[in-house]
Symmetry: C2
Subunit: 397 residues, 2 copies
Amino acid sequence: MTEPDRHVTDATPLLAVVGGGQLARMMQQAAVSLGVRLRLLAESPQDSAAQVVPDVAVGDYRDLHTLRSVTKDCAALTFDHEHVPTEHLQALVEDQVACRPGPQALVHAQDKAVMRARMHELGVPGPRHALVHDAAGVAAFADGVGGFPVVLKTTRGGYDGKGVWLVGSVEESRAAFEAAATADVAILAEEKVDFRRELAALVARSPSGQAAAYPVVESVQVGGVCAEVVAPAPGLSEALATRAQRIALQIAGALDVTGILAVEMFETHDGLVLVNELAMRPHNTGHWSMDGAVTGQFENHLRAVLDLPLGSPQAREPWTVMVNILGGQPEAGPLYDGFPHVFARDPGLKVHLYGKQVRPGRKVGHVTAYGDDLEEVRDRARHAAAWFRGDLGDESE
Amino acid sequence: MTEPDRHVTDATPLLAVVGGGQLARMMQQAAVSLGVRLRLLAESPQDSAAQVVPDVAVGDYRDLHTLRSVTKDCAALTFDHEHVPTEHLQALVEDQVACRPGPQALVHAQDKAVMRARMHELGVPGPRHALVHDAAGVAAFADGVGGFPVVLKTTRGGYDGKGVWLVGSVEESRAAFEAAATADVAILAEEKVDFRRELAALVARSPSGQAAAYPVVESVQVGGVCAEVVAPAPGLSEALATRAQRIALQIAGALDVTGILAVEMFETHDGLVLVNELAMRPHNTGHWSMDGAVTGQFENHLRAVLDLPLGSPQAREPWTVMVNILGGQPEAGPLYDGFPHVFARDPGLKVHLYGKQVRPGRKVGHVTAYGDDLEEVRDRARHAAAWFRGDLGDESE
């Protein structure tokens, strides 16, 4: 796990970021305050972050030459997404580029089979799982976990519900194997956990080993996409919250993660937490922290990857609720036109738009509300997100 | 006061900003969340804001052709500083550019004689004052206000203590008249107010007339430069706070200000407030609001100039203290090198660096601390600013 590093203590460091999505866009807001300059590798000049960062290279993150050129003279390299090939990151590390997180850590967020094997080694609780190669393998796995349904996942490349299938029979596993063959990846089978709800534990960790744990949140997923996050998770016992934070800190330390690590978990009916997924970058379940915590996850990600002391992850308010704005139907009109209503109704609401083309179901922004009364705070955030989406039509129509 | 406007309800409006200083830089952070694009007219590509905004024109704000080209297709025009010639703004208004604030408002922040005359008309309390043309005029003015010292100010072009002289005799007024002759501006004499402290009342006001008043703050000036701001002003009676807010709202309404109006005031020993200066843009006395209020002044400035409903100006914490980071001696080293100490000492501190070259006395950033105990909060903010400045040397040296 030793990683040769460029020194990052020079004045006004330049930080390379692969990916031009909303995570890089929100990193830019934090970078402006820190006086840190970002250099972006985007796929298009229209990318969410490319609209707000002056120093943008448009290119392919799967091309090592491009990665080398973008990281030249940068204090460190970090990521908006986890899709850079592991072997390219290893080559960059050999070039003395400070990859944060490094490839040995990041592979656990890229490859679910590697992640599951490592979690098992670490004794971290998770669902039962096995690599399956064909329908017979699925049938055998289902037998071993008490029958169907089971969950099938591509080991690489999935996100936001893509690359995940809940299958009720051997026959239903066909689509997963077809997709895996097309993408040349393997299939991991996991038991279907009968969970009470989903939690997420976020930690920031720096190369020097300092770590900060955010309050554990509840996340509500709809169709495999994060819809809503409540911070802190309502009614979560202190014991279980501590257990979730300890697991996240253990993983961050054992894997030598630098930057934000998000650990998505299932809370089971019998009071256990099981690790579902890992992400090594600012995460949707941490967006609430921009307005609801002393130090937002984007600022702590930058502080971590630059090996600056971390900021307090404490919540500023009793309750903070983040609701994603998902693209609605085109007739809902431009998002900007939602402001007059939403802002007039709720002067305390915080809105973050990503500058992305609206497409049905696409994450195009989020809203955050905070306050003392959870029900009220949640209603405020839900109303605003629904309004932007165009879901609050005239019922007489 | 009617102002022909382009409609600003189109999707993702483009907002032109004249000036590339730290105010425009911090507007960009707010613009990113709102999905609003800024187009900057900067003096150099190295300007504070030009480092963080992709759409930058480098040019001269005193050139009407440049202003016309920058504002083309923009929903509105706003300002990082108040130095654009009034006649150019009038020409832009005739071109249907939505200048926010408009020239009839802005002239009161540009020309102190115009401002004083208007405040007098409005019945707003201020120091006694008169335009003076020579030493004899200064002597006569001093006689009328009880003798020297008196304050002389150039009517245009002054800021941060520049263009202001406290003179104790007729002879001492020579420097002011020489500077005024060089700059081709007039000299305004004002009585020296024996004030208890300085206050600032900020309001945001939109073209439709909606206004929001921030808590009245205490500002501590050192050598004519804002050093420290405490929100809310400690020990200020509710009656006086309300009076200060009413004055700011009255001025904003009467002058048809759009965007942030900052009214700097003197609190006198006998419990009055007197208007000292006006600024029509986000203001140093409002920086605390970025971290300490529900809606920061930069976001409310953008919402106001785009005629969106304003956000809550409420304080989020009992006490918020902002201290400017002023450039120290070059041997203090780069500002960035202050982070390891400052962040390790105080995980709750918020730091905003402006990306500006450090020069002695120059505003190069600010720090904000908040909490329940004013003395502790103030000490935290002062310590961090002093550390960045390099003022906390080894006393044994």
